[in-house]
Every structure is written in C-alpha cells, then in structure tokens.
C-alpha cells in the first residue's frame, strides 16, 4: 500500500512537470488560467489526475487556486517555469531513478554492490535494496550470486538505440498484424489529442522530453492493443526501458513533427481496422527513425557509419 501511494505521487509529479512544460510551450504568463479540460486533453489523462497534479503544484507555490474559478499560474517568466519543472524533477527523483539516470549517463558502472550504492547515494541498505527491487521488476538490473547487481543493456548509446530500433522493426508490425488486436478507441482519442496539441507548438519550441513521453505512450499503446501476449509483453518492457533510459535531444524539429504525423496516420489505420496498412506505416515510421548520422566525417574520407570496435 505504501508503495502504491509513492507511485501515485510519482505520477502526479510527472504530470505536474508535463503541465508546466505545456504552459512553457504555450508561453503562458503569471495569472493565466489553467482549464482542467484543456490540460486533461493535452496530457491525455482524465480530469481527476489533472486536479491532483494541480493541487500538488499549488502546494509547491507554482499555482494558486481561487474558489469557483480554478487554478492560475503563480509564476511568470519561462525561467521560473523551467526552475519549477526542475524542482518537480528533484522531488520525483527517487533513488531508483537516480541510480538508473547515473547508469544511463555512465556515471556508474554496469556491476554494482549494495554497499557501493549506499556510499554513493548516502542511503540506507534498505533504501538501496528497495531501489534495486524496483529496477529489477522492470528488468533493468539482475542480482548475481553474492552481493553484485548487474545492469542489463540500456539505451545509452547510438549503437544501443540502433539495436532497439532493429528489435522494434521486427516486433512492432507483428504486434499490429497478430490476430486478436483490440483497440481502445477512447485511449486512442486521448493520444490523438495529445499529439495534436504538441503539433500546435510554435516551430523550434517543441520539448524533446515531452515528445519522448508521447512517443513511448503511443508505441506502448500499440503494444497493448496486440492480440499476441508475448509480443505485447516484450514490447511493453522494452518501451518502459526506452522511457527511462533513452535520451535523444538532437532530433530536428521537422522530424519530431513528421514523426507525430506518422503516429496519427498509424492511429487512423488501426482505428479503421486497416491493419496491414498500419503495419506498413509502422515499418516506414521506424525506418525513418532509424536513419543514422555518420559517427565521424572528414573531407576526402568515407564517413564512418558505426562506432568503432573497442
């Protein structure tokens, strides 16, 4: 029960960050009203969690509440909004997430001991064990005989992202084509609204973090629709790993928008039961996402397309 409460709070913190990112993208200012319905559609969740996230933002003096009017921004500049997002991120940073972030950013090695983690994070043995348990539930770490814990491969390099896309190219079209696909039209509609909202942001201001969140939501949704339970399970676990460890802040604005449009086209096709078309569209989408820049280039030399072997 305790764990459920903690995870609910984490969700509200994540939602709070999403709300503030949207407020930044819409260039909202101090005193602007935040309508529940608008944010519910933009974030793709019902109004109840939005209300809870608003409340949490109010507790942190980011929003103010007026009776019968609702919530209003209590901070003004984009810097203040960015600081507020950071503050929520700090609150959200559970030990498990800090460990995972440090691993994804190569601050810690792939083999860890409980004692080593206790020292690095100044945490109790119990806290570290809980964090490792959370990570092992998602398949990120595995306990070895003895005291060692080993991280599994994560999406922390161009080569790893390329392998991930190769894996997804094999499975994601199959998730759509497997007999028994079932599409939750309400959720599809919420996702559609979220993507349309992101597409509405002015050119050059789209947040890579918000795109990544919506991207993993969309691909997880397609996995959940699948009629093949093993494909579904493998893809859902993989998208969880992508969500927590893949960081790509380098995709040009044009490609982010093109990618969102491809998601919408795939949704159109699965909603109208054109599964073969949807699977083909998924292949096209993933192939475009798989394009790699040269790893190194120089005048007069053939570009290096793959990181050199160690």
């Amino acid at each position: 029960m305790k764990e459920t409460r903690r995870s609910t709070r984490q969700n509200h913190l994540a939602l709070g960050q999403q709300i503030l990112t949207i407020a930044m993208e819409r260039r909202m200012r101090r005193g602007d009203h935040l309508p529940e319905q608008t944010f519910s559609e933009a974030c793709g969740v019902s109004r109840t969690p939005i209300r809870s996230a608003f409340k949490l933002l109010e507790q942190n003096e980011i929003l103010t509440w007026r009776e019968e009017e609702g919530y209003f921004l209590a901070i003004g500049s984009s810097d203040e909004l960015a600081d507020a997002v950071q503050k929520l991120e700090d609150l959200e940073n559970s030990l498990a997430q800090r460990i995972l972030a440090d691993r994804a950013e190569r601050r810690i090695g792939d083999v860890q001991s409980v004692r080593g983690l206790m020292t690095r994070y100044d945490a109790s043995r119990n806290s570290v064990l809980i964090a490792l348990k959370v990570l092992s539930r998602d398949g990120v770490v595995t306990q070895m005989p003895g005291q060692a814990w080993v991280f599994q491969p994560i999406l922390d390099s161009p080569n790893a992202i390329d392998e991930s896309l190769s894996f997804r190219l094999t499975l994601e079209p199959q998730a759509i084509l497997a007999p028994g696909i079932s599409v939750d039209l309400k959720r599809a509609g919420l996702l559609r609204a979220q993507m349309a909202d992101l597409l509405d942001t002015p050119e050059g201001t789209m947040s890579a973090a918000r795109f990544h969140r919506i991207d993993t939501d969309f691909h997880s949704f397609i996995a959940e629709c699948s009629g093949n339970r093993f494909v579904r399970g493998a893809l859902l676990a993989h998208h969880r790993l992508r969500r927590t460890t893949q960081k790509d802040t380098s995709i040009p604005d044009f490609r982010l928008r093109q990618s969102l449009q491809e998601h919408l086209d795939i949704l159109d096709s699965v909603e109208s039961a054109q599964y073969e078309l949807a699977a083909d569209q998924m292949i096209l989408h993933l192939r475009r996402s798989r394009i790699r820049r040269p790893e190194a280039a120089n005048r007069g030399t053939p570009p290096l397309m793959r990181a050199l072997r160690a």
């Binding site: 790893e295 120089n298 030399t301 397309m305 793959r306 990181a307 050199l308």
Partner: protein, 427 residues
C-alpha cells in the same frame, strides 16, 4: 526559370558544410525557393530530417562497413599524432595527403554528379566545398560558391595564408609557409589540373583548387573578425555573412547530480571526437571545477565510463541551441563553431586539430574574443586556470555581447538566401 527556383545545395561530406547549408536552405525555403540537397554516401537522411529532399550520389567504390571501419582505424593511428604538430609540420603529414584524398573524391564523383544534375536540372547550384567539381561548372546553370572555411581561404597579401595559423603581420613566416604549401600540394594540384583539362575547365594557379564563382560567392566571415584586404573583393560578386547559424531544435539542459550554475559546452567536431584519450584527460580536469560540462563525444560514447557528476556526454547536440545557453564553448576552431560562439556572444577556448582551425584559433586569440590553447600540450593546472579565467572574464564577455548584437541584427543565413535569390533575379 520557374517561379520557385530549384536550388541544389552540394555541401562536402563534413558536418560543418552540411549544417551550414541547412541554415541557408531553411531561409531559401522561407523565401519561396525549393532547396534540395546533393548527398554524399553516408549522409542519407541528414537533410531529410530537416525536411529537405535529398538526391544521393552513389558510393564510388563498394566498401563494406568493416572496410570503412578499418580505414578509420588506420586514419586514427596515422593522423592522431599529426594533429599535435604545428601548421607547417602538418603540411607534408596531413594537408598533402588530404588534398590527394579530396582530388580522389572529385574524380570518383564526377560521372554520378553530372548524371544527377542532368536529372534534377536545378536553376542554381550552391557548392560548399574546397574544390571544384567539373560537373558543377558544366551543369548549365549559375553556381554559387560558399566559403564556409575561414576567410583565409580567399587569399590576399594582407590576409594570413590559408591553414597557416599565422598572424597577418608575420611576413617571414608567411613566405616560408606559402613556399612549403605550394611544394606539398604540387602533386595533388597537378593531378587535379589534368583532370580539369579533360573536362574542359581552365587550369588553376598553383595551390588553388577552386575558382571564385562568376555569379556569387558567400563568405562566412563576421565583420568583427574580418581582415582588411589590400585588394578588396568585388562587392557585386562577394557577399560577407555574419556567420551562418541555422535554426535548431530547442535544447533543455539535462539534469545533473550537481547544481553548479555555469554551463560549458565542448565539441571538437566528429573528427576531433576520435581522440578519446585526450577528451578523457580533459574530463578529469572538468571534474575538479564548479561548472557543468556538456561534452560531445560523437560516435565514441562507449569508450567512456565513470563520468563525473558535473559532466554529461552526448553523441550529438543541437549545437547552436546549446551554445546559446552556454557560458563557455571549447571547440576545435571549425568555422561553424567559431561563428556560433560569436553569434551568441560566448567566449571560446579554441584547441585546433588541423586545417582552418589553426587560422580561427589565432584570429580569436589576437582579437581577444577567446583563447588559443594547444590541443594536447597542457597540464591539468594550466587547463583549469585557462577555463576559470575565461569564465570570469567579464570584459571579454562585454566585447562578445557587442559582437553578438551586430551579428544577430543581420543573420547570415538570411543574407545568404537573399543574395542567392537576388542573383537569380527573384527579388
């Protein structure tokens, strides 16, 4: 000519030229032109991600990925030691073989390039390279030269020799360097001139591999760093640009376990990232400083472990957006990095590897807009002290702010696109 002129941009196979052309193409598109890219093998998709149509040159020789990796392993072994040499010593070791390799690429690309132009039939070609491709000159449409290296690429008696890293007033050094340059590039130049002859192009003087365009030449040389020339370039054909900084995706600085206010960005370009030992040494110094460091390690991310808490490694950053957020930019003196630092008013620590990086490092240092440091000959204390001094130099920051204001008042991408449209009669 069509209402929306079709403009084929043909950057060399390097990120500097490629991304510089993206900046110009973004503006050309806004002005109603149809920019398309001629794409070297390996650059497939780089321009499509910015929304531009690509036409691909076929690989000139069938090389497997393994063979290219072996080539790069050899390149690293051979040339890493050369990057430590001074510009004069790099002439026989790095510059001469690189010119030979560049001539090879021109010879190999010629037939495919001519066929592509025949297929596309552009209204104009933008060539961003250091060498002429006969197919460009013979395409039957105007061509524009983009000089995206340092201004030194266009010679003048009062401008230091290209690739020399010399100050403008070093007459003795100049004579020695020019003589050595002509000697070391002679073999490649002879071969290239012979190739030009077979394709009906005029011979070029010794040391020259690319003529000026009779229509329009664009120089990425901000006014703050421009050299006074004894023979001023004709204004009707030469247009100076205040850099050429492209529009990039928004950058949100990553969260780090430390809370230092200052942000330092380091990138030596994709070529510089091959020296993982050097970057590792620098990271050890960064770990001792109260600042956050973003380090572009290109395709070599997997070579690093135990990254300090104040350092974040990435294989690619939307550089102009990152520089805009930074307090200091450590780079190799590539002309895009040079211009982006000035455009955003950010001090530079320039640690050149080769080519025009030497020229830009010297220029940045002599104008007091940054510092020049040998790329590898430094002690941890010396590097630390240089970084701290640059971060605290408010006078330099004030000078840079003025430079930045001037450059932003006349963005180079817009000026370039306007000049191209004007040259084509689309006012």
């Amino acid at each position: 000519m069509s209402v929306s002129p079709l403009i084929a941009l043909f950057p060399e196979a390097s990120f500097g030229a490629a991304l510089n052309c993206v900046g110009i193409a973004q503006k050309l598109r806004q002005m109603g032109a149809t920019p398309v890219f001629i794409c070297h093998p390996g650059f497939t998709g780089v321009f499509a991600e910015y929304g531009f149509k690509e036409y691909h040159l076929a690989p000139t020789a069938k090389r497997s990925t393994d063979a290219i990796e072996d080539y790069w392993q050899g390149f690293i072994t051979t040339h890493l030691p050369h990057f430590d040499l001074d510009p004069m010593a790099q002439l026989p070791t790095y510059v001469a073989p690189t010119w030979q390799a560049i001539v090879n690429t021109v010879v190999a690309a010629e037939d495919g390039l001519a066929a592509l132009f025949d297929r596309i039939r552009p209204d104009a070609i933008l060539l961003d390279n250091v060498i002429m491709f006969p197919a460009v000159a013979n395409a039957g449409c105007p061509w524009v030269r983009v000089v995206s290296c340092a201004e030194t690429e266009i010679p003048d008696p009062d401008v230091p020799p290209y690739l020399s890293g010399l100050p403008a007033d070093d007459r003795i050094g100049r004579e020695r360097f020019e003589k050595a340059y002509l000697r070391e590039t002679r073999a490649a130049h002879r071969r290239y001139n012979a190739f030009r002859k077979t394709h009906g192009l005029a011979q070029l003087p010794a040391g020259h591999f690319l003529e000026s365009s009779p229509v329009l030449n664009l120089l990425l040389a901000p006014s703050a760093t421009r050299f006074p020339r004894r023979n001023p370039l004709p204004e009707d054909r030469f247009v100076y640009l205040e850099g050429c900084v492209r529009e990039e995706t928004r950058f949100d600085a990553p969260h780090m376990p430390v809370d230092h206010a200052r942000l330092v960005y380091m990138s030596f370009g994709s070529l510089g990232s091959i020296d993982t030992d050097l970057i590792g040494r620098m990271i050890d110094v960064f770990a001792t400083l109260p600042a956050r460091f973003l380090v572009n390690v290109g395709g070599f991310l997997e070579a690093y472990s135990r990254v300090p808490d104040n350092v974040y490694l990435g294989s690619w950053f939307p550089q102009p957006s990152v520089v805009a957020e930074s307090d200091l930019f450590i780079h190799h003196g590539g002309n895009n990095s040079f211009c982006e630092a000035l455009y955003h008013g950010v001090p530079s620590l320039v640690m050149p590897y080769c080519w025009d990086g030497h020229d830009n490092a010297q220029r940045m240092d002599e104008l007091d807009l940054g510092r020049h440091l040998h790329r590898s000959r430094w002690s941890p204390d010396a590097l630390r002290s240089t970084l701290v001094t640059l971060l605290e130099d408010t006078a330099m920051r004030d000078r840079l702010a003025a430079v930045s204001r001037g450059m932003k008042a006349e963005p180079g991408t817009e000026r370039a696109a306007r000049a191209v449209m004007d040259a084509l009669g689309h006012r």
